[in-house]
Amino acid sequence: MKKILFFIFIIFNFYHFISAEINVVASVDKNVVSLNEQITLQITISGTTTNLPQPKIPQLSEFQVYSSGRSQNISIINGQVNSSITFSYVLVPQKIGEFEIPPITVEYQGKTYQTQPIKIKVEKQTSTQQIPTEKNVYKGTKRDLFIETFVDKKKAYVNEQITLTFRFYTKVNLLSQPQYSPPSTTGFLTEDLPPQRNYYTIIDSERYYVTEIKTALFPTTAGKFTIGEATVRCMIEDFDIDDFFSDSFFKRFFSTGKEVVLKSQPIEITVLPLPQPQPQFFYGSVGKYTITTYIEKTKISQNETVFLNIKISGIGNIKSISFPKSTIENILGKNFLVYDPISSLEIKKENYKVIGNKIFKIPITPLVAGKIVIPEIKFIYFNPETAQYETTISKPITLEVLPAEKSNLNIEKNLSKKEYQKIELEDIRYIFETFKAKRIYSKNLLILIQFIPLFSWLSIITYRTYRKNLLKDIKKYRATRAYKKAFEEIKKINFKDKNKFWEKIYEIITEYLADKMNLTKEAICIEEINKFYKNKISSQTYNELIYFWEEINFYRFAPSKVENLNIKEYLNKVISLLKKLEDETKKI
């Protein structure tokens, strides 16, 4: 079985490997340039693999070629990988004339892919590109760094994309990451347009490193608006190469640099209103779109709810596309119950344009059985390129509706459509009309109690092992238990019968000593005590023991001699003696 699976895996991967195709496209930002301008050449390689090859740039003797980085985009949709890499180059023309960028080749899996040749016309130098001389230029040594912002159009319709470009030019080392504050864009909805580009450019024979950030702006209402000033704060070296032998050169080693604040010029934008009269069912979408409709299954039963999917895809402000429920109700007529649509978005930014799709999922329930047609659905949008309202139309869908055996929707009762809707909605998503609040408990206690049975078992096992080992060594067992046993016996003493008291106390002490020495009670005598304790305990405790033992031995035969003695006090003395003996023998 494993072998079969492995074989299938190998075949699948091999198929995937051989089926991977790539696509190569080359483009330039302009075909006609003057001698002092530059051209951006972009080579985009895309395919269903993440391992895309690099292009081979042919010899371009008419241009100086600089690489200005590359950007990669990977998308995974339903497990399908699509990726593209864009390699950017800056071409600086060297002479006037008409030239051709020959086909750029890419080799992949033994195949050679190539782009179309591109014609470039280089004209006479018209005017020298100047570094902007407004207040945005930092007046440092040799105009080291500056910023600029510009838009692709200064007049646009409401909701039409305006691309705002911010560029930061620098030819000096920066001591910190520049802090960019984007301009204020009141009156516009904004959308970032990644990726950020970094490349080199030549202005006035100086080579600058450029960081470019683009943002899509969508005006919300007609009128005149101003894009505020963008700001960049950065730290540069406080050092001038011209003053090599002056003190300032040495400052470089001690200086932490100086802060430079760069500001761009505000830009005025005129937002044009959309032409009047606006067509019926136009909901403010501007751009270029197409509509498609689909349904997961076309054979359903009468009371079954399915999702009608309306997908609107294209270029423009995808987020703002709307499709009111009332419009769908009008289109579908009385044959369906229509619930609130749920929408999902997918936005991509390709070539600095906001493109993507918005899917409206509309739960619908057919009220009648038979073949029902969901008619074509129109979506009207304003196309700013043609300055006209255009319509995209979906294809009709035919549903085969089987009659329900037991309809939840009690049609016989002639309920209104809204009442049906309420019944069905409550069935689908019920709202709780009462609530209970509870305290937040920690799970740690539940985790901790898991260890109780284990610890109980371990404790029992340990205790049993200890007892087992103890019983193996009877001498040790008796010695260990002697003190406890003596105490248990002391607790049982009856103080009322004084005659028996001395007998009992003598018995307890003798038994204690016998256990300690591992002898019988009868074998305890002064000699044995002397042999066992003489050098093991202090002489004071030893004398005390001998004294008490002999005294008690005497009292048990002549109890009448000690009638006035407080036996409780005497017992305490005995207890303290036993404690002393126990402590001192433990130390050995």
Binding site: E346, I347, K348, G356, A437, K443, I447, P453, W457
Partner: protein, 250 residues
């Protein structure tokens, strides 16, 4: 002495009144929110449910019903990311509630996230973590009790109890460990469509992938305004801005 007793009684009455006023206010606010929802004023209903949630939070309390109703409001307002987030919280409070699970699965289905869990995770998540812990404890107790009893007694029944409970305890213990590892991972829900970036910055990134709302992500680490996340279903890692994610935590 009498004065002291009177003072204590007064304080007690004061607290009882304060607590009952608080409870009545929350209850009436909940009823108002339900009414607003029924009328279709989902924004108003949402505001009220959110206020109740905050009130409960102040008192270190939670309510599955409140979370669920907030989820419903967001669903109606077409904010499926936030809707899923609150359904997930509701599920943490009331794991087996049919309505919560139905709505959560519906949002997952609508946003294409219904295949997030593999078979093993589905098995492990059959019980809530608390239920699993209690079940493990019961089997743990039976297993070790039968072992302990077997030290003192010999019986066939005990032997079988030891074997069966041992096997079940072993299986559940492994499931419990897997579940514990999953539970300790910090997860979050993407609340609006965003870009998954290759670096924790919006300026320097060159790679980006569009991620739809309502996707569950595992939060690996954080750096400034970004979370490093792992998208289990798509098996990719990247950085997402913190304000686009809500972490699932009670």
């Amino acid at each position: 002495m009498k004065q002291k007793k009177y003072k204590i009684l007064k304080t007690l009455i004061f607290f009882v009144i304060i607590i009952s006023i608080g409870k009545t206010n929350t209850l009436s606010l909940f009823n108002e929110a339900v009414d607003e929802y029924k009328k279709g004023n989902f924004t108003n209903a949402l505001e009220k449910f959110l206020t109740i949630k905050e009130e409960l939070h102040k008192n270190k309390k939670i309510s599955a019903e409140v979370f669920y109703n907030i989820g419903n409001c967001y669903f109606r307002l077409n904010q499926l990311g936030l809707s899923r987030y609150y359904y997930e919280l509701a599920k943490l409070c009331n794991y087996h509630n049919k309505n919560i699970n139905y709505n959560l699965n519906l949002v997952k289905k609508l946003t294409g996230n219904n295949l997030e869990e593999n078979l093993m995770e589905q098995i492990v998540s059959f019980f809530s973590f608390n239920e699993l812990l209690i079940l493990i404890f019961i089997l743990n107790l039976i297993f070790f009790s039968s072992i302990i009893l077997n030290i003192f007694l010999t019986s066939k029944l005990l032997k079988w109890a030891k074997r069966i409970s041992g096997i079940l305890f072993g299986i559940l213990f492994i499931l419990g460990i897997i579940r514990y590892i999953n539970e300790t991972k910090l997860t979050g829900i993407i609340i609006e469509p965003t870009n998954l970036l290759s670096a924790p910055t919006e300026l320097g990134q060159t790679k980006s992938i569009q991620i739809n709302e309502a996707k569950k992500v595992i939060i690996l680490t954080e750096k400034e305004d970004f979370y490093a996340v792992y998208l289990k279903q798509d098996k990719i890692q990247g950085w997402i801005k913190k304000d686009k994610i809500k972490t699932i935590k009670l």
